[in-house]
Symmetry: C2
Subunit: 321 residues, 2 copies
């Protein structure tokens, strides 16, 4: 069966996989994105993982390479600059991989890749209009409208993480500004919310015994499931910010659903219930009850890998990109 190499570059981890045309992941590897000292040594580490995932499948027909990366330029194949990566301006990443393997290479924003994965293999298969949000280190997103990916006039669309939350505390963002949505709604954002709540409230919490440096989103979800009041309040507040902000976007583009993916979304109903409540509360009356917030139907680890692979497996640029 046809296969493709897929690379999903995230702020924390970089994932490398060999994917076939049915959407099955045949082999996978990962590495820490920030472990490398330079772009060169980072790419060398990826090349090594690619050879490792391909080695067990010597007979495979390799059609190409799909790369999902944050804040990249899909039109010219470069990473322009990124709040969460340490690349300098305009690394020609698509060309680097095409040259190395003498195969067609495709570059797509990581969250757009996840949206394509959701459209081709996940919960969006029957939908022409949806938003996918990836809640990881930051908040990424991909938008499908009229059945096609929205890339924007110069490939910079889907920066929903940098929509602004006003009227609340204006948290410093990695982009150099303050008040961006991802400072509240992301794995990092909910940690910040926990620390704000520990300051505001006096109620006891197991989270009072962890430092900012050691606490993770997983500590918060485990605490919330055990009934910890600060953790529960943190999900409630995160869902409220998410729901209210998505209501603005729904007013403009009215998707059928908003899918949530990524580490923070694994909290499930802890996040979904307040997000749904506050989305509905902030919608125009005639839109209420018409837009659902749903968990991604792809594994959090897999959506972007599958979407990026689909660019190499199918002629997606013609069809939906």
């Amino acid at each position: 069966m046809d296969t493709a190499i897929s690379i999903d570059i995230g702020g924390t981890n970089t994932k490398i996989a060999l994917v076939d045309a049915s959407g099955a992941i045949l082999a996978r590897e990962r590495l820490h994105t920030r472990a490398s000292q330079s772009a060169e040594s980072y790419f060398e580490a990826i090349f090594e993982r690619i050879e490792r995932v391909c080695r067990p499948f010597p007979g495979r027909q390799l059609l190409g390479i799909g790369i999902g990366a944050p804040a990249c330029n899909e039109y010219d194949g470069t990473i322009e600059r990124s709040a969460n990566l340490l690349f300098e301006d305009r690394v020609p990443i698509r060309q680097i991989f095409a040259d190395r393997y003498q195969l067609p290479a495709h570059l797509v924003k990581d969250a757009n890749a996840a949206a394509l994965g959701e459209k081709l293999f996940g919960g969006g298969r029957q939908m022409d209009d949806f938003i996918l949000l990836t809640l990881g280190t930051g908040l990424g997103g991909g938008i499908i409208l009229n059945g096609r990916l929205v890339s924007g006039a110069s490939g910079l669309a889907s920066e929903m993480g940098h929509m602004r939350v006003t009227g609340a505390e204006e948290r410093q963002c990695g982009c150099g500004r303050r008040g961006c949505l991802e400072t509240f709604v992301s794995a990092t954002g909910i940690i910040r919310t926990v620390f704000a709540l520990l300051a505001e409230e006096t109620v006891d919490s197991r989270l009072r015994h962890l430092s900012y440096a050691e606490v993770t989103a997983r500590h918060i979800s485990e605490a919330a499931r055990a009934g910890d009041p600060i953790a529960r309040l943190a999900y409630e507040r995160t869902g409220a910010v998410l729901g209210a902000k998505m209501a603005d976007l729904v007013a403009a583009i009215e998707p059928e659903a908003i899918f949530l993916s990524g580490g923070l979304a694994q909290a499930g109903d802890l996040l979904l219930q307040p997000a749904r409540k506050h989305l509905d509360k902030n919608l125009l009356h005639l839109m209420r009850g018409k837009v659902n917030i749903l968990p991604s139907q792809l594994g959090a680890d897999d959506a972007a890998l599958l979407g990026a692979a689909s660019l190499a497996l199918f002629n997606q640029k013609e069809k939906i990109l």
Copy 2:
């Protein structure tokens, strides 16, 4: 040449025109939307105007009827409910006109019609991705992405007037909620802003001599052009709210341009300059300078008429709707 009847239903005026396939308006009429006592007498008044615009052109080939209306359902051809009209729920307006004239009738949201007009005959002819905002009694809008109109999953998209402005005074909106963008950015909104400023500031202004009931957006633009400080401040504040809110939408969909149409947009640079400044200030760094705010290239009276007519003149539903 082929012609179509076009009807543009607005909160204040209803316009009726005969339009040909080159985008020329051959004849036009108008009536006050709220002058009629019932939906029936309102439709009778429109029928009469239609006969009046057609009478001088007995030889014309009439292809159909295009109707632009606020808050209508494009998919089932009804007006569901409207903040600015007095219809009851679900008037089957498309069927009413199709039955009356035995011609194909098309219904599109008024601001979507204006966006189609801008795409086919105006400043968006060379663009695949843009937003059009109509700043009249309320704030409407239409969005073209990937060259196609964004209608939304159930035809309710483009309610940009009901995106929420938080962190400011939360003004009551015709939709029953508070804080909607159109309570600031519309012909009505700038009047409200003038009255807020007359309360806040002590500087002299000719606008201190007009009652709320008598002041119009034209009084404000004339005062601003004459250097009136309250009027100038009102445009500055209106542009600031518009620019900041559009930055959110630009982050998500990255259009090439935002066109402004309608009565308030006729103020030109009075509104455009602060809007551009505050849009840019609120954009992510890598998007700055990439999105322009431009005046519609169609007459404020004509954009929606031309766009609605285009639905009847061309097979637009297949191509871009």
